[in-house]
Amino acid sequence: MMMNQRKLIRKIVVYAVYILLLSSLQVSYPNRLGFGGQTADITFVFVVLTGYFYGFKDGVIVGLIMGLVRDCLAPIAIIGIDGTVHVTAGIGMLVMFLAGAVASSFFTKRMHRNIPFAFVSIAFITLLYKFSGHFLAYSWTFLVPSAGSYDLGVYEIVVRSSLLQTLLNLIAGIPLLVLLRFAGPVGLAEQRNTSDDVIKSNEDTSWLQI
């Protein structure tokens, strides 16, 4: 019991530190994380890796909190139906929550949460996010005429936006993966002994103890 509590405290502390640190870096130095008009989204990649390696509950809870912090530090402003610009709340939470949820189920059982496939997970979920984002942005401007036009071409969407962002996220995934592996929420020795079934069974209890 004592041991479990210690593990839980480690988990909470490690996640809290990473959430604050990565969110702050993301919004303070986006130019240093960017290339060609895109920015490596280290917060997004962290949520994906958390979901992939540590399961559904870790993924969605870290996603929700990371998204909340994102909404605080870099909120999104969009043109509303009335034609004026509104600062919204919750979009970051929704995106990160879904990223964590999808990552936790992305072939995790079949691939046994192995490291190389984590990069496939990052690439797939980034592409899903980018294409959905472009579709929603286009739909919004289509439904709300006052929101202006969103006339990005196929090359812009596929190459300059989605593929470039995916590449940057994959690069950002390397240091984050090392951090999660060697200074992550679960000790290295424990990671070696933890099978997918254990992660799944822990999901039912661990967070309920908070």
């Binding site: 870099a74 043109i79 610009v85 919204t88 939470m93």
Partner: protein, 303 residues
């Protein structure tokens, strides 16, 4: 039923629907989700400021080591420059005194004399390519408060346009940057009776750090290098704030000629900005007793 409620995809669906409802409600003033984000923001901001300060200190320290020799050379050049500048400063002080005398004499209008200028530092920038806003460290506590539909211009240290304040909180404010898809400002060519245009953010041009220029009247010919400044139409921005220069003109559609504009202000590199808050001077109040405080302040939407 219990199985359904504990199914993770049911949880995902339920939470997603709740969040979508929260996002829609966040358009309304007094939204609970926005209030929650505001509270969280107060808790998170100090940590983010700490990380930024530490990052800057580390960056400065590294730069000091890496640039040691260059700094010594630069120091030598700067000393010579200081001597030259001191000489020029004396001359300008003389000129400033004469300017004040002439200003009084000829009633030269100082464009920005009806504005209080508040300095602020950029706390956070756009996190990705979609619609993010900038946060600055000046808010209601510093006297920057917005009524519904109001907005204040934000400029850089050279008085070039950066964006406008769209929301204020206790110790920070949100700024809609010039490149944002929702930004729009009335501009004009920087010459006597210069042609009017509309400068707005564009999702494609934003990636290259450019804005779109539209509303170009028939017969007006813009050429690359033309300087565009705010026209003052709309009441939000005073006239004469430099926006940028025309980079290219697209005349493929003769009915709607558009152009691209490179802003003077490099928002990605900015650290400090200034918020311009209009006020009515006592003199003006005495001259025009009908003028209310709110009429001097800009309205939302296009400036």
């Amino acid at each position: 039923m219990k199985r359904l409620l504990t199914s993770k995809w049911f949880i995902v669906l339920a939470v997603s629907l709740l969040l979508i409802a929260g996002i829609i409600l966040s358009f309304l003033p007094g939204s609970p989700l926005k209030a929650a984000v505001g509270i969280a923001s107060n808790a998170v901001s100090p940590a983010q400021k700490g990380v930024k300060t530490t990052g800057n200190a580390f960056s400065d320290f590294w730069a000091a080591i890496a640039d040691g020799i260059a700094i010594r050379e630069e120091n030598k050049t700067l000393k010579e420059e200081i001597a030259d500048l001191k000489y020029r400063l004396n001359q300008y002080e003389e000129a400033a005194i004469r300017y004040e005398e002439l200003k009084e004499a000829f009633h030269i209008r100082d464009t920005f004399s009806n504005y209080d200028i508040y300095g602020a530092t950029i706390l956070s920038r756009e996190a990705d390519e979609w619609f993010s806003v900038i946060r600055i460290n000046a808010g209601k506590n510093e006297g920057i408060s917005l009524e519904q539909g109001q907005s204040y211009p934000v400029v850089d240290v050279e008085m070039n346009l950066v964006g406008r304040v769209i929301e204020t909180q206790g110790s920070d404010s949100k700024v809609l940057p010039l490149l944002h898809e929702g930004f729009s400002v009335a501009g004009k060519v920087n010459e006597v009776n210069g042609a009017s245009v509309i400068v707005s953010g564009d999702s494609v041009l934003k990636r290259s750090g450019l804005c779109k220029v539209k509303g170009i009247e028939k017969g007006v010919r813009l050429v690359p290098g033309t300087v565009i400044v705010t026209s003052g139409e709309g009441g939000l921005f005073p006239d004469g704030i430099p926006i940028g220069t025309i980079v290219s003109v697209d005349e493929s559609n003769p009915v709607e000629v558009t152009a691209t504009l490179k802003p003077f202000s490099n928002i990605g590199e900015l650290e400090d900005v200034f918020v311009m808050i209009p006020f009515i001077s006592d003199d003006k109040k005495e001259r025009e007793p009908g003028v209310s405080e709110s009429s001097a302040q800009g309205q939302g939407g296009q400036g």
